[in-house]
Amino acid sequence: MRNIFQSRVSGTLLKTVFLGALDGIAIWASVQLFLQSEVGFAVALLIGAAVINYVFLSQKTYPVRYMVPGLIFLFAFVVYPIGYTFYLSTTNYGTGHILNKSQAIESLETQYYQPENPTSYTFNAYENDQGKMKLLLKSGTDENLYLTEGKKLKEVNQGSDRLVDTDGDGTIDRIGEYSIMTRTEVIRSLQTLQEWRPKSGKVSLQMSDLNHFQEQIAQYEYIESREVMKDRRTGEIFKPVEGTFVSTTSNKKLQPGFKASVGLENFIRIFTDPLITGPFFRVFTWTFIWAFMSVLTTFALGLGIALLLNDDQLSLKPLYKGLLILPYAIPAFISALIWRGFFNTNVGIINTKILQPLFGIAPAWFQDPILAKVAVLLVNLWLGFPYMMIVCLGALQSIQPELYEVAKVDGASPFQQFRKITFPLLMVSVAPLLIGSFAFNFNNFNIIFLVSRGEPPIVGATTAGSTDILISYTYKLAFGGQGATQYGLAAAISIIIFLIVGTISAVNFHYTGALEEMSENV
């Protein structure tokens, strides 16, 4: 009785500490998010925290407690990214369209141009007891003095009695209640100084370095009521079109543009742009062949070795198993790069140490489209068979030995035993994994990108290479250059691939269900 009581108390204590910490973090994080004006995230966070509190404090929702953490992670790491990808695919997010609209407008409005001969002003800053500041600027051309009145600039007379030089060194030390600031104080107020931009007319003065202000004229003006941008210098009007301000009179576009919704533009582009559609069918076909052949070769080799290892007469089994699992244990990144070196036509050891001395041939591995395909399949075979071997070894153990005894009595040959007993029973547990492996290889970006890089290129005006699969082709399209970033387009293609792999998975589930039914009958 006492034990139960104790565990209940410590359970409650644990719960309260846990919830308290969680709420503390949630409140702090949502305040931070509000401050960064991420209202959506902040609200979502608070609602999430409230739901967790309710679930854990109410007795009614007791059973839900076990599901809530999983559901939250499902939402955060699966549902949200998919939704965000969908959203991105309908935008033009990418080079030149990184900012949001108000940031882009702000960026354009702060593009200044300097008049022909900009006047430079030296300045002194003054501060009163309330911390308010005033600037006294001296024109570099005519030595006239100007004083700030808030954002405005007013000319003052040299001899004005407001300007007091207490120590007589030629520097004005006091202006009314304002007294001069030291250099360190000026530096502390740099941000205020930079954003001050005192104006007279359309000319504004911008701090150019620690000692000077310079004349500048803002080039663009955003006319809020008409939602257009006006060029002050030329009078040209720019209208926002799909995230770019485009001139109404010429084809001039303003930089930067902004992130804007483009509807299904990205998807339409995938299906109509000849640069993309040209090699699409070719890439699509090879992707299927690649995924299918990868599964077939790795499974065949893995199963073959598993059958050998399953033989009772074989000694030193653990040693063989250990050695054969090695390819699986080495990080695929490293082995892929090493294999790329091995296959090098002129200096790789496959040609120089094996094929050349033994057979007198030196195939041009990554220069020939067929050989390049063979090479990537071979590398994937090396990387993939240990997995299949492990899976098959496990599945073989589960087949009842009596079945083989019965078969022997009936006079079945070893091959017949394999075909009629081993293989069908193996497939029951292995088939879903094969379909999973197909889906995995369908998107096996690493091997293609690291081993062949999609090479060799195809002759003609296309960006696809002979060994490019859909995902590596996507990468080339969206990030093809050395920094080109077409996130919108990449998201659209990802969604198409997502649909393809989703269909494969649906078939997988369907097929798995069918096999389970079959195994029940066995």
């Binding site: 308290g20 503390g24 002759v459 960006t463 970033t485 387009l489």
Partner: protein, 401 residues
């Protein structure tokens, strides 16, 4: 139930306050830098902290990640105030509205070589404070190449004598199979170019199919045809061949030097010899500091660059420890005493700055593919460059870069 609710609420309050109090304070100067520059900037950052009583936060970021990270972080105001980078990012970052021009006095501008400032100039504004410059040159193994080739024809002869594919020995190697950067000297020797330069790069004027470009590429084609350059060579394979003494000449940049020294190869560096009297012009890459448009305090950041980084002491360190030829004139004099640096500088002085316009992004993929087809003898330079131009023009027209 009630009791536990009260406990939860009170704990919430306590922890909430603790977390809120520990939130990051504003008013720091954040700088993104790679590892080498990090060590160099550390002492001056603390000087700056003392002089201006602001906090300087140096973040060490993998160089290759800086560009994409900055693109994502800056608009959400999580980016740095200053960052290091290569000059060819200028167009893209400026077009994205993420850069602030750097304010330099005429005096200070005069301290830098003209080409290094030009490299960072986009739409008439200087967007970077340069610190180093690099260009590829011809590195040769003194044991195999006795006399510096004075012409490309001599280079070809030396190359022929040294090449023996069965023994994996080559006269001339370069990481050139489909590497536009390393192939550019061929493209440019007879006057070819990627984008026409006239005070700025013109994205609508491609020069890949000009007679000059094709003539240079035919020279390259011939070398492949005669088996003088091995197939499918990337940077690491060419490095392997040269550092093991299996290659006589290696066309690459100053980044290769430390590896060669470690391998104990007796080497020399020279600028590429002329082809029929025409100088092959390598791409010049300039490294420098960018100022973010989302910097909290532009003037302060600018101050750090112009008065703390642009000094002889720091620039000398950036040259010595960064192992790249300097662009700051007072240090440049010093660098010329080192024959290796002097040779790379000589090569850079005949080079052309790599285009810094964002449209350059559209060229790499197509050029890589088509240069490979030339090296594999599958296409003549003319046909290959025509299809490259077609792809690049389409991509630029559609804004796909």
């Amino acid at each position: 139930m009630k009791k536990s609710l009260i406990i939860v609420l009170s704990l919430t309050l306590v922890l909430g306050t603790v977390f809120a109090a520990s939130a990051k304070q504003a008013g720091v100067l954040e700088i993104w830098t790679d590892k080498v520059r990090y060590e160099i900037l550390k002492p001056i950052a603390s000087d700056f902290e003392d002089d201006y009583s602001v906090e300087v936060e140096l973040s060490q970021i993998n160089y290759d990640d800086i560009r994409s990270k900055f693109n994502k972080a800056a608009p959400s105001e999580e980016g740095p105030d200053l960052l290091i980078g290569a000059h060819d990012w200028t167009g893209e970052l400026a077009q994205n509205g993420l850069l602030e021009p750097i304010t330099m006095s005429e005096d200070l501008k005069g301290q830098f070589t003209e080409v290094s400032l030009d490299a960072f100039t986009y739409n008439g504004e200087i967007y970077g404070l340069p610190y180093s410059m690099e260009a590829i040159a011809l590195i040769y193994n003194k044991d195999l190449v006795e006399k510096e080739p004075e012409t490309w024809a001599e280079l070809m002869t030396i190359s022929k004598n040294l090449t023996n594919p069965e023994k994996k020995q080559y006269g001339f190697v370069f990481p050139g199979t489909g590497d536009p950067y390393h192939t550019y000297p061929f493209l440019s020797a007879y006057g070819g170019y990627i984008f026409q330069y006239d005070g700025g790069f013109d994205p609508n004027q491609l020069g890949l199919t000009t007679e000059g470009a094709l003539k240079g590429l035919r020279k390259l084609d011939t070398m492949y045809e005669e088996g003088l350059i091995p197939q499918g060579i990337d940077y690491s394979t060419s490095q392997g061949l040269f550092t093991e003494g299996d290659a006589g000449m290696w066309m690459t940049g100053p980044w290769a030097i430390s590896g060669i020294k470690e391998a104990g190869i007796d080497f020399g560096v020279m600028k590429m010899p002329p082809m029929d009297g025409n100088q092959p012009k390598p791409f010049v890459g300039v490294n420098g500091f960018y100022l973010s448009a989302y910097a909290e305090d532009t003037v302060l950041a600018n101050e750090f660059l112009t008065n703390y980084v642009a000094t002889e002491e720091v620039m000398a360190k950036l040259y010595e420890e960064g192992n790249r030829p300097p662009v700051y004139k007072p240090v440049r004099q010093k660098a010329k005493d080192d024959p290796t640096t002097a040779a790379f500088l000589k090569s850079a002085s005949v080079g052309m700055p790599m285009p810094n316009i964002p449209e350059m992004n559209a060229t790499w993929g197509a050029l890589t593919d088509k240069l490979q087809l030339i090296s594999q003898q599958k296409q003549e330079p003319k046909a290959a460059m025509e299809s490259a131009e077609e792809i690049i023009t389409q991509a630029i027209e559609k804004g796909e870069y």
